[in-house]
Amino acid sequence: MRNSKTLTTTLVLVVLAVVGAVLPFLLSHYYVDLLTMLFVNIILVSSFRLITIIGDWSLAHLPLMGAGAYASALITGTLGWPFWPSLLLSAIIAGVIALLMSVPLSRTTGFSFFIASYAAGEAMRLCWTRFRQPFGGHTGLANIPDPGSIGAVDFSRPIPYYFLALLITAVCLWLMYRVCRSRIGATFHAIHSQKSLARALGINVVKYKMLVFVIGGFFAGVAGVILVHRMWAISPNQFGFTPTLYLLVWVVFGGTGTFAGPIIGVSVLTLIDQLLDPLAEWLPMFYGAILILTLLFLPEGLEGVPKRLQSWYRRRQDGGKASEDSTTPENVTTEEQD
């Protein structure tokens, strides 16, 4: 049983790798950049999902991505550092900021955490808006350097940058996956499902909440760095309320129960995005509707589809006998009262 699952997964990954390697040469530069942005968003949703393993939904995630972006913009722009060291340092800075935020945040849970995380992220964003030195204020920063060249490969061009992003994304996903499968990941799950029990067994829940938030923040920072060195300009609005909504839609739509769920969610929705491009002004409304419909009718997101298909199929097999339909919305997250 185990082997067939690993076989399928390996097969899927190989196919994706091949497709990913070939695709940029078949598409226009516009779509190559689009895929690059998809990679950024994949890192974003995956790191967000990591935090949900322990039971909390964080609205500070986009701001933390912005922290990585601003850090790298300043380190490469003002300080003149090259790309790769800046990537690492900026992600670490995002992680440190997450650590600082987690000091008050880890004392909250559930809905409190949700709101407090928004407050923490927003406070940081307001600093970027308010202080023209060094953040560029409302209009943000521009003229951010690209990663330069290695030999003949010029990373200011879409296709080389695409592969850069692809590589970094693959590494990040691998690292995050390892966290999930490690004992740390098991502890996160244990805390989520039985917090009191975990505490009684010796788990310092506050420490683990801080840890997961820092890890999430670190990878959000990485995503921000990849973003900023392709766009060459950033502003506070890119990390505010509207992008946060999109993140929520991707995650709710894809589901948070599995590692791949959010990734599939963001990919599907990005595809739909493109198909609906002529109706671009209606997009936020469309996303709002998807969000609400998903919450009402498919609370587990896309991850719930196989199960529902199964039970639908089984009901048909039973001769169409009406059986209990679990359409009552389960909690998307559990509200914990501590």
């Binding site: 559930g110 406070a123 509207t242 969000l291 909690n331 998307v332």
Partner: protein, 285 residues
């Protein structure tokens, strides 16, 4: 200078209270935070724009009609969106965020996004001067309107059967059922009233500020902070918190600027949530 600041602060507090009280009512009865509350505020302003500015209705008729329409829309969204999610804090909140964008885009498509709309003041820029303090009449109307509507609400909640049932419902759904009102009915009424009050605030403010689809964003965050710190679902607390933050915001904006005010209040909220020993659902125990 101080007198002017106090006058401004009073008006701001009354305005915030009008918005926050509606949000508090919804939270108390439905245990859901409606982040689209700001959009109902916006819709109230648009009602004035469409009826009064574009179609020359008398101002008060437009005001009343706006309040009614927004209230009804609120009840509709309760039925469709919030009823199935009642009691689930995070899903309900996320759904309300979805509603924010639906309403913003709808309004933007209907009446355009570009330039902000100006609504002519019913009392053309008349200004009252007392001592060294000057306030324009429309702002005084906001102040008076807010106080009147909140007073009506308090009377309603304390003196009428439905109102008392709503209060009971905020404590305990079974108690409400005993009072003869179903939870569904209570939720619908709470949402109707809550959104209507937000719409009223928008309608009163329309002549004072520009009308545009994203105007709700300025208001919702402050209302939100007030509801949380005022003790979610606690009307008295909300009113007190409105006064506190009305003054705080005015003073900070006068001394520094609005971004700094926003920043400090946001940090205040963060610290508040971190220090509170219990979660948001528990009342002080």
């Amino acid at each position: 200078m101080i007198g002017q600041t106090i006058a401004n602060a009073l008006i701001t507090s009354a305005f915030y209270a009008l918005v926050a009280v509606g949000l508090t009512l919804v939270f108390g009865v439905m245990k859901i935070v409606n982040f689209a509350h700001g959009e109902f505020y916006m819709l109230g302003a648009y009602a004035i724009y469409v009826l009064y500015a574009r179609n020359s209705w008398p101002y008060f008729a437009a005001l009343v009609m706006g309040i009614v329409l927004v209230g009804i829309l609120g009840a509709v969204t309760e039925r469709i969106i919030f009823r199935p999610l009642r009691g689930q804090l995070i899903p309900g909140f996320i759904a309300s965020i979805g509603l924010v964008f639906i309403l913003q885009v709808a309004v933007g498509r209907l009446w355009g996004v570009g330039k902000m709309k100006r609504v002519p003041a019913p009392y053309k820029g008349e200004v009252v001067r007392v001592g060294g303090v000057s306030v324009d009449v429309q702002r005084i109307m906001v102040f008076v309107g807010a106080i009147v509507l909140i007073a009506i609400l308090i009377l309603f909640l304390n003196r009428t059967r439905i109102g008392r049932a709503l209060r009971a419902s905020a404590q305990d759904a079974t108690a409400a059922a005993l009072q003869g009102i179903s939870v569904n009915r209570a939720s619908a009424i709470a949402m109707l009233i809550g959104c209507a009050m937000a719409g009223a605030a928008g309608a009163l403010m329309a002549p004072v500020m520009s009308v545009y689809p994203y105007m709700g964003g300025m208001v919702i965050w402050m209302a939100f902070v007030i509801v949380i710190i005022g003790g979610q679902g606690n009307l008295k607390g909300a009113i007190l918190a409105s006064a506190l933050f009305g003054f705080l915001d005015t003073i900070l904006t006068t001394v520094f600027d609005s971004t700094i005010s926003n920043l400090l209040i946001t940090v205040f909220l963060l610290v508040f949530l971190a220090i509170r020993p219990q979660g948001l659902l528990g009342h002080a125990e």
